[in-house]
Amino acid sequence: MGRFLLAVLRRDLTLAARRRGDWLIAQFFFVMVASLFPLGVGPEPNMLARIGPGVLWVAATLASLLSLSRLFSDDHHDGSLEHMVLSPEPTVLLVLGKSLAHWLIYGIPLLLIAPVLGIQFNLSWEAIFILEISLLLGTPILSLLGGVGAALTLGLRGGGVLLTLLILPLYIPALIFGAGAVDGVVAGTGAQAHLSLLGAFLVLSLMIAPWIAAAALRVSLE
């Protein structure tokens, strides 16, 4: 079981390393969306600090969605997805492995870029620290729930847009708790409660999303 999970991870990481272009696009997208906001709402530092947490979280959500439509579709296209589903190992593990790989490839870089953007938004060091923790807890949720959407929309016309439509509503709790934690620091009310709830939502997603995504994958391959 461990070997299987590791094989899925290593495979997806190797493939991502061979195709750095796709990977870079998602990160640039994150930076660009976040950079558009100060241009749209004006450069007033206090206001930027107010909206910063929310903007960065929304941008992270969208950047994660951008890459999700290809979570299964590339493998579906060349037939390797069928081979993976026909493996004696459980499909849930496959989905878990692929979501985890997606998080490592697309989620972790967001964590590395976010502090820089945080400075752009005039966030304090403490707020940036909490932003990092909230992204650390929150981005895996995006990958896990996104796996459900990617599995449901596998091989459909306009699957990418549909995926966004299906999955964004499910992201709302993560967005509220994640941005709220940073907001709490900015407003001086503390972040701990938000982070605990974000953690609870992560555990819940971890327990439920892979099963539903695995079921959806089997349905889509039928």
Binding site: F4, V8, R11, T14, E82, H83, E222
Partner: protein, 217 residues
């Protein structure tokens, strides 16, 4: 049911969309046997193979492996079965050896590098071992997929048009591989449009669909 019927199909029905492709299908395949599935385009050959793998679910009826419905013994069945569909399952960004390594890992098995290289060479890929599969020809990529098939050591092969894109040598090679596989007690279910030379092999033929072949008058 005879003892050697490892794979058995009972009153199977299959629908695509709202069209019933076939119903009341019954057959058994035992060790050392090849089942050749025949029929015109759109008669449900591929659908039948996908049912047999467990990817699709039948409209009615049951498929059993070693006497148990495949839904009930999924892990065992998948461990003993390998499927090669229209798509090769070969990643373009990886070279053939890497492809085999990950294919083995995804089946939950350890990778035997020497054996993999040996197989790739036997299938005439010795000169492309370190090239990304993107630069290989269609037939060469098909051979990579066939190497993965051999490497898996599965009891049951389910092959959807395994000969597409292969040249004469490769077809002859494939015939030899199937013969060896069956002689060693393996079994296979295959569709093909090409004639196969399979002397000394126990072949069953199954006609899918209601239109007799040749379809063209």
């Amino acid at each position: 049911m005879p003892d050697d019927a490892l794979l058995s199909v009972h009153d199977l029905a299959c629908a695509r969309g709202e069209r019933l492709l076939f119903k009341d299908m019954n057959f058994t395949v035992g060790a050392g046997e090849l089942l050749l599935v025949q029929g015109g385009n759109g008669q449900g050959k591929t659908s039948l193979l996908r049912l047999l793998t467990g990817l699709a679910r039948p409209e009615a009826g049951e498929i059993r492996w070693r006497g148990e419905p495949i839904g009930k013994c999924r892990d065992l069945f998948h461990a003993e079965m390998i499927y090669l569909g229209h798509a090769n399952g070969v990643k373009d960004d990886l070279d053939p050896i890497e492809n085999l390594r990950f294919a083995e890992g995804l089946q939950g098995r350890a990778f035997e590098r020497e054996r993999a290289i040996d197989l790739l060479q036997r299938l005439g890929l010795s000169r492309c071992l370190d090239l990304p599969c993107r630069v290989l020809s269609f037939g060469q990529r098909r051979r990579v997929a066939l190497s993965a098939l051999l490497l898996a050591d599965a009891k049951l092969w389910i092959l959807d048009e395994p000969l597409t894109g292969l040249d004469v040598h490769a077809v002859a090679l494939m015939e030899g591989l199937i013969r060896d596989h069956l002689a060693a007690g393996g079994m296979a279910v295959a569709t093909t449009h090409q004639a196969l030379n399979l002397e000394g092999v126990k072949v069953q033929r199954l006609l899918v669909g209601n239109v007799a072949i040749p379809e063209m008058a």
